[in-house]
Subunit: 663 residues, 2 copies
């Protein structure tokens, strides 16, 4: 029986799967061959499209299956996610040896639209995800956290899964969510926050049934479910006196708890763990290494085929700002490189893409490329904690693409995408908002993440065009060009009006929205800029600084070591520079700060005008939501400009070369 | 029937009324003459003391009333709070023409201790409060506020009156509180926060019974109860479409609501109102003046003998930091001076002592002295919002005394204490903490306020000694000297390690604890320091600044106008000065900053040692609580020192003349 396509609740935006995106498919004749639950999902999709647009769909078991425009054929049951795509003899064929592959092939056809049914292709194309695990981490709390709320760093309303301490129970919406994820290639979801509080801890044990319901809703779209667990679970939940990973009773507790999880969810993906980080418990309390900790969980998961994702986000969050020798950027490398080779095969070290924390500009974490004998997952942040919190347009495709294409050995060797054998992970930007992501244009970030996780070397601009084509089907060129214009450069625009030249932070403490140049300067968080009357930036050179630059392989280490060769955009990340230092761009540091901040605001004003000009071409609710957020973005960008420029004028005393007003 | 003295709940500190403070009184023979409820309070006090210490007490109606050591005699019923004190013929006599006067006379005898029964005095002494209304404003919320909690700016636990949306009901403790207040001379309590939220608004109407219970508990100690009300009450509670103070239906609503209040509390004191301030509603919405607003409430209260306290804390809290022409310090004067003479006789304008907001150092508000035809109340803040939040020792007696003795016409004319005809008011620092004030030594602030309100020209050091004598009866001289030592200079010590030279703020936004030099610098709150690489401070001169200095009478205006004559401690409040400017002290501004910050920390360390040396002389629980808070004070003082010094070193580039380490 074909699985009915989930029905969106009234008023919820279809995102990149509006009915019209299925017009080409739905007006054709399709034959589906094979059987299995995901084949029924595929059948349901095609059947709904045909019902709407006049085509027809048959199964191999049915008569009259000739004269088809499209054949979707499952040829095996190997669990592969790959598919073959062929256009020949006036017919389009998708074959896959695993059910997920067939589903991805279907969405490939949807993306191509009419192009899927035009002309001939020279040869068969194989589509295969470069990365096996493409996961979203939801930082969703079950119980509303007094400070962080229902979703930690969530800017799109409540959680899709949880509400006020309980499972939300709106499983039809969860199914619709799974469908959107499948259509961009995501195949795993961790359903709760990595900061596991008291209520959330119990999802592992007596509340696993609630997780199972989510898993059931996501499974028809090829998505496995993961759970964030607390390292202290044996104590908190099991009443043991210790959580020591080498303690036999602790290991037995985890083995048994994990077996029960698999009784409830037989394709359960595994655990996500934030240990010894920002107050979370971990193996350090027992004098054990993080490999000991991860391997204990890996051992519990191994009999069931599960994986533990162990986050490498370990640093001293009670640093003394007076101590300039400690460098938070060094921490992940210093903690984990000595453990390379010690992690179990089903333990994945999950590394943030940069050494700090999802700033608008960071170098790639030197840990990636330094752990040859460890499976790594690379984590990016779709939720825009530091990049405008879904009130600002900031399409992160180009940033992620730069990260994924970065080659830790520089000219040769594998890229970050190649090295992410343990998966690509994004912190979700989705909530129960009618537009899913708060800002309607932030949907592009979610979509782009999925597609880049499938193919890390994809051209992000091409992905953006895909997203535009799906989201605004049959759009006039003016609309396509307008949407492209406001998104394409939005990350660089955001960079222009916020913290300059890779220096990072300068945000309001706590909530991280809006400027506060000294907000973290005298804090224990290890994120400083050291601006004084002469200059600004952090000396992370080997010669005179914290030595962080030396954590890279030689070609990068040498490039970053010297201000002469360090790229402008990372200069203040690696060096403390005088305001008069001449950048490669030919501008001084201080003039660069002034210029980019004036430009950034102008860019936003211009984007706002472009968006305004699209009124009438876009659904009014969506247009209004974006227009309203542009007002806030412009206000906020001006605030950033004026605070940053005033701060540096007051400190440096250097007037703007163009005589513009700085307060 | 004598009124029994309230019994303190187990574990609650007796503060300045420990049993031993009654030893002298309780071992004597006392005769009480007169009748009335407060005479029964007096009788109850004396009876309990005698029961404990072997004396005896008789009433004039009883036989055997001869050979008395003390006579407490009520001679009339004029409601006066004054009393006559006489020592003659080996007998001490207190006479009063009003019941409250007799009560205050009793506590005078308690304060004197054995001295009340020694020697002869040359003549009769008259004791009469200089200020008729001596009020505590409790910023207590009935419902816990999501940001501000149960008590706004409360640092002593929950509220004595309210808990979690309900009346707390612990009326015995409220009685004990009233007793403490009477013993220092306070005669009015406003029972809820001036920011009146939804729940609190209803105290005026259907929940007035809960206020009446508090009033009943306080009345036997001569304390009248006041209520903070919302200007929007006719709309919020009465369902009217307007709160326009000139609208007849609004006036009728207030008249009727007020009549009902007096049905419940016949000696109700009146209303406290924060209008058009920090988001509270007010008359501006209707194009009416604050005199219109206050007079409407005054009219409702007048038939019943009540008073409205109308706060002058009106300013633009959405200021643009870029706009240097707007000066929050000017606001109260600019708003209210044009209204002088327009306020009703029972309307009191309640003015904060400084023009900003209870900073450790501010000039006296120029509004005081500029409203000759308006009754003024002067408000100070016992709760240590900006002065260490009852984690730091900061005895405010000297600051308040300076304010109260300030003469707005400088050499001649009345003092602030003289001008406060409408009352002296303190924001309460009390909560349900076992020590009442969180920090046990913060009790001294509450006591000192009461005594200075009674007699604004009193020597604060004398008041401190009174407090020490009562709180630590029969203390050895080493203890007295130690407590005196840690309190006497504590305000100046706090000033040393925090914002320098009157510049103010530099606190963490929101909660206001701990340093953040730029915390309010780019905010809408109007509290800036304008530090740049050359200098710091706010130019409030008439010649080149905001003109605030010209709001003072000529002698002060001239003194403040010029950096040459402006007192050092207010220099940065009135002027933007270069770091190299030489102070009257002979130090440069920058060296003053460095020196005071190093000194301030040393002072705290020294005070901590003094306190440590008192172990064994002080009740262990009290000693431990103070010792623990000294640890935090020292940590915090170091943080202030290092952040302020680093900030100014980085900005000025001027090294410390003594080569001390600045980070």
């Amino acid at each position: 029986m074909p699985l009915p396509v989930p029905v969106l609740p009234e008023g919820v935006d279809p995102a990149w799967l509006p009915p019209d995106a299925f017009r080409a498919l739905g007006s054709r004749r399709t034959l589906i061959r094979g059987s299995g639950p995901l084949v029924e999902t595929v059948h349901g999709e095609v059947a709904q499209a045909c019902a709407r647009f006049g085509g027809r769909v048959v199964r191999d078991c049915e008569p009259g299956a000739t004269g088809n425009d499209l054949v979707l054929e499952l040829t095996g049951s190997d669990g592969s996610e790959a598919f073959m795509y062929e256009r020949a003899g006036g017919r389009t064929t998708v074959t896959a040896s695993g059910q997920s592959g067939l589903l991805y092939g279907l969405f490939h056809v949807v993306r191509l639209g009419e192009d899927a049914f035009r002309g001939e292709r020279r040869s068969r194309e194989e589509h295969r995800p470069a990365v096996a695990l493409r996961m979203l981490d939801h930082w969703d709390n079950v119980a509303v956290h007094p400070v962080m709320g229902q979703v930690e760093r969530g800017y799109a309303g409540g959680s899709l899964f949880w509400e006020d301490g309980r499972a939300r129970g709106e499983l039809e919406r969860v199914r619709a969510y799974g469908r959107l994820l499948a259509a961009c290639g995501i195949n795993a979801v961790a359903v709760n926050n990595v900061n596991v509080h008291e209520t959330e801890a119990r999802l592992l044990t007596d509340r696993i049934g609630e997780v199972a319901e989510v898993a059931d809703a996501l499974r028809p779209y090829g998505i496995r479910t993961q759970l964030s667990v607390t390292f202290a679970a044996p104590m908190v939940l099991g009443g043991l006196a210790t959580a020591d990973p080498l303690d036999a009773s602790v290991r037995a507790w985890w083995a048994e708890a994990t077996a029960r999880v698999y009784e409830a969810i037989d394709d359960f993906g595994g655990y996500v763990v934030k240990a010894d980080s920002e107050g979370q418990p971990g193996p350090f309390a027992y004098g054990r290494s993080h490999a000991d900790g991860a391997n204990m969980l890996a051992a519990a998961l191994a009999p069931h085929g599960g994986t533990v994702h162990w986050r490498a986000f370990v640093y001293d969050h009670r640093q003394d700002w007076r101590d300039r020798t400690t460098d938070r950027a060094r921490a992940a490398y210093d903690h984990f490189v000595p453990l390379d080779g010690e992690f179990a095969a089903n333990a994945v070290l999950q590394v943030k893409h940069g050494p700090l924390d999802f700033q608008v500009r960071e170098p790639v974490s030197p840990l990636i490329g330094a752990m040859a004998r460890t499976r790594l997952a690379v984590e990016v942040q779709a939720t825009q904690e530091y990049t405008g919190q879904q009130r600002h347009v900031c399409w992160l495709g180009p940033m992620w693409s730069e990260v994924l294409r970065f080659r830790p050995e520089r000219d040769g060797g594998p890229s970050v995408g190649d090295l992410a054998g343990g998966g690509l992970v994004a912190v979700s930007n989705v909530g129960d908002d009618p537009f899913w992501t708060g800002h309607p244009l932030a949907q592009a970030n979610l979509y782009t993440f999925g597609r880049l996780a499938w193919r890390p070397d994809a051209d992000p601009d091409g992905v953006l065009d895909e997203w535009i084509g799906l989201t605004f089907p049959s759009a006039p060129e003016r609309l396509v060009a307008g949407v492209r214009a406001v998104l394409t450069g939005s990350w660089r625009t955001y960079e222009k009006y916020t913290a300059p030249l890779g220096v990072g932070f300068m945000v309001q403490p706590g909530h991280h929205y809006g400027p506060s140049v000294d907000g973290y300067e005298y804090s224990p968080w290890g994120t400083y800029h050291f601006a004084d009357r002469d200059g600004v930036g952090v000396d992370r050179s080997r010669a005179t600084g914290t030595g962080y630059a030396a954590q890279y392989a030689k070609p990068w280490a040498e490039m970053y070591e010297s201000p002469d060769t360090c790229p402008d955009e990372l200069l203040l990340f690696f060096h403390h520079m005088s305001y008069g230092h001449m950048l490669h761009s030919g501008k001084t540091v201080i003039q660069h700060i002034y210029d980019t901040h004036f430009e950034g605001v102008e860019d936003v004003a211009e984007a706002r005008e472009v968006w305004a000009s699209l009124a009438g071409l876009v659904d009014p609710a969506r247009h209004a939501r974006v227009a309203e957020r542009y007002e806030e973005q412009l206000r906020s960008a001006r605030e950033w400009r004026d605070q940053i420029n005033s701060y540096f004028l007051r400190k440096s005393g250097v007037p703007d070369a163009h005589g513009r007003r700085i307060h």
